[in-house]
Amino acid sequence: MSNSSKRSNLRVMSAELSLLSRPDGSATLFQGDTCVMSAVYGPGEVRINKEQIDRATVEVIYKPRSGLPGCTEKSQERLIRNTCETVLLSSLHPRSSVSLTVQEMQNSGSLLACCINSMCLALLDSGMSMKCLVAAVHCVLDFEGAVFLDATDKEEKGAQACVTFVFDSVDKNVVMVHAVGKYSVEQFNKCMSVCRTASADIFHFYRETMTKKLKRS
C-alpha cells in the first residue's frame, strides 16, 4: 500500500438533506466516493400484527445497489435497525411505525458506517425525537497492525481486520460494533480509541449540515 493512501482522518463528507419530497426526512451522504441515501417515514400507521402497545415499531429496509437482498443485506439491515431503535425515543409514539429505507448508491468502502451516518442525518431531518446522536466510524487494520480510518474498498480487501464502531454523542460509549478478521484485544482497543477520536468530526459534520439547512429555511 502506498503511503499516500494511508489516512489518519476521515474522507471528505458531504450531505444533502430533504432531497426527496415524499418521506418525512431524507438524507444523501457521501463519504469519499461511498454514497448512501436514507429516507424516513413516520411516525405513521402500523400494520396490526406488528403493533407494539408501548412504543413505535421501527422497520428498516436496506436496499442493495442491485439484485435481491440476501443474508448479508439482512444482517446489515438488522445492525442498522438495532442502532436506530437504540437512539429513537420510540416510546413517545406507541402503536405507530417508523419506517426507514436505506439505499446503497455506491460502495467504495466503509459502507456500513455510511449507512448509519446517513440514517442518523435522515432522522435529524425528519425532526423525530432522539435520545442522542450516533456516529459510525470504520477502520481497517493492515498486516503490520497499522490502523487506516475510513477505508476504501481496496483497502478493505487487503486488510487483516475490518472494524466499524458506532458511538453515542453523550458519553461516546459504544452503541454498535462489527469487527471481523484476525486481531488481538490490544489492536481492537487501539481501533476503538482511534475511531472514538474521529467520531467527533462526524458529530461536528452533523452540526454543520443542520446549521446549513436551518439557515436556508
Binding site: 444482517s75 453515542d168 460509549n173 454498535m176 460494533v177 462489527h178 484476525k182
Partner: protein, 284 residues
C-alpha cells in the same frame, strides 16, 4: 396463586409471565439468575460428535435446553474461474418451526438469515478450514462442504451453539478419498478410505446480554434475550479475536468490553477442552 370467591375456580397469575422484567430484577439484585446460574456462568454444555452417519461430519450440541445439530455434506463441484483452486464452504442455519413457537414454516426469517451470515463470516474470517485444502484438481474439481446447522430446540443463545456445533462437526469430518482420472476427466471415489479435514484454528463464540443498560451476563436463555437491552457476541480464534459484534442496544464502555473479552477467552479454553475430550473418547 390467587383464588376467587368460588373455590373450585382459580386463575393463575404468573408474575414471570405478566411482569417478566420485575421478576428478573428481583433475582439479579442478588447476582443470580432465575435458573440458579451466576451472571458469568454458561449453561451445562453437552456435546455429541459424529452422531449422523449419513453426513461426512456431524455434531450435536446442547447448551442447557438449546439443542443444535450440524451436519456436513461434501459434494463435488467445479471451482469459480477467478479462484480455480478454492473449494466452497456453504454454511446455513435453519431455525425450523420445530424448535420454537417463534418460528413459522416457510423460507428463513430474518433471524435465520442473520445467523447464517454470522456463521459464514466466522467460517471465512477465522480461516479454520483452508479453501485450498478442498481442491481436488485445480480448475476442474473441488469439494463443496455444505454445513447445515439445524436448531432442534431454541432456548436462546443460538450463535454460540451454532459455532460450537460447526467446529465440532468440522473436526469430525472425514472426506472420502478421491482420485482424479485425467483421461476420462472424471473423479473416482474410494468407497472405503477416508481422510480427515485439516482444521487450522478454533473459533469459539461467547454471547453476552446487557440487562437494564448496565448489567452484563453470559449465555442468555430465550426469555433473557427478549428482556435484554442489547447483546454482545465475541468470537475468539485461539489467542486472537475473530469477530466482535454488538448489534446496537445499550451503549457499553471500553471496560465492559474488556471484561467480555476475558470471559470469552476463558470460555474458549473450556470449550476446546470439551471438544478434545469427546474426540478422544470416540477414538478410543
Amino acid at each position: 396463586m390467587y383464588s376467587s370467591s368460588k373455590p373450585a375456580e382459580t386463575a393463575k397469575i404468573s408474575v414471570r409471565a405478566a411482569r417478566p422484567l420485575e421478576y428478573y430484577r428481583k433475582f439479579l439484585e442478588k447476582d443470580v439468575r432465575p435458573d440458579g446460574r451466576e451472571l458469568g456462568e454458561f449453561r451445562p454444555t453437552i456435546l455429541n460428535i459424529g452422531c449422523i452417519s449419513t453426513a461426512e461430519g456431524s455434531a450435536l450440541v446442547k447448551l442447557g435446553n438449546t439443542t443444535v445439530m450440524c451436519g456436513i455434506k461434501a459434494e463435488f463441484a467445479t471451482p469459480k474461474t477467478e479462484e480455480p483452486s478454492n473449494g466452497y464452504l456453504v454454511p446455513n442455519v435453519e431455525l425450523s418451526p420445530l424448535c420454537s413457537p417463534m418460528f413459522r414454516p416457510g423460507p428463513p426469517g430474518e433471524q435465520a438469515q442473520v445467523l447464517s451470515h454470522f456463521v459464514n463470516e466466522v467460517l471465512n474470517q477465522s480461516c479454520c478450514v483452508r479453501k485450498e485444502d478442498l481442491c481436488i484438481k485445480t480448475g476442474k474439481l473441488v469439494w463443496v462442504l455444505y454445513c447445515d446447522i439445524l436448531c432442534l430446540d431454541y432456548d436462546g443463545n443460538a450463535p454460540d451453539a451454532c459455532i460450537l456445533s460447526l467446529l465440532a462437526a468440522l473436526k469430525s469430518t472425514m472426506l472420502p478419498a478421491v482420485k482424479y482420472n485425467e483421461e476420462t476427466e472424471k473423479p473416482e471415489t474410494d468407497s472405503v478410505k477416508t481422510e480427515p479435514l485439516h482444521i487450522l484454528s478454533n473459533p469459539v463464540s461467547s454471547t453476552f446480554a446487557i440487562f437494564d443498560d448496565h448489567l452484563l451476563f453470559v449465555d442468555p436463555t430465550v426469555q433473557e434475550e427478549s428482556l435484554a437491552t442489547g447483546t454482545v457476541t465475541i468470537v475468539t480464534n485461539d489467542n486472537d479475536l475473530c469477530l466482535v459484534q454488538k448489534p446496537g442496544g445499550s451503549p457499553v464502555t471500553a471496560d465492559q468490553m474488556n471484561t467480555c473479552f476475558e470471559r470469552a477467552f476463558s470460555r474458549s479454553k473450556e470449550v476446546l477442552r470439551l471438544i478434545d475430550e469427546i474426540l478422544h473418547s470416540i477414538e478410543r
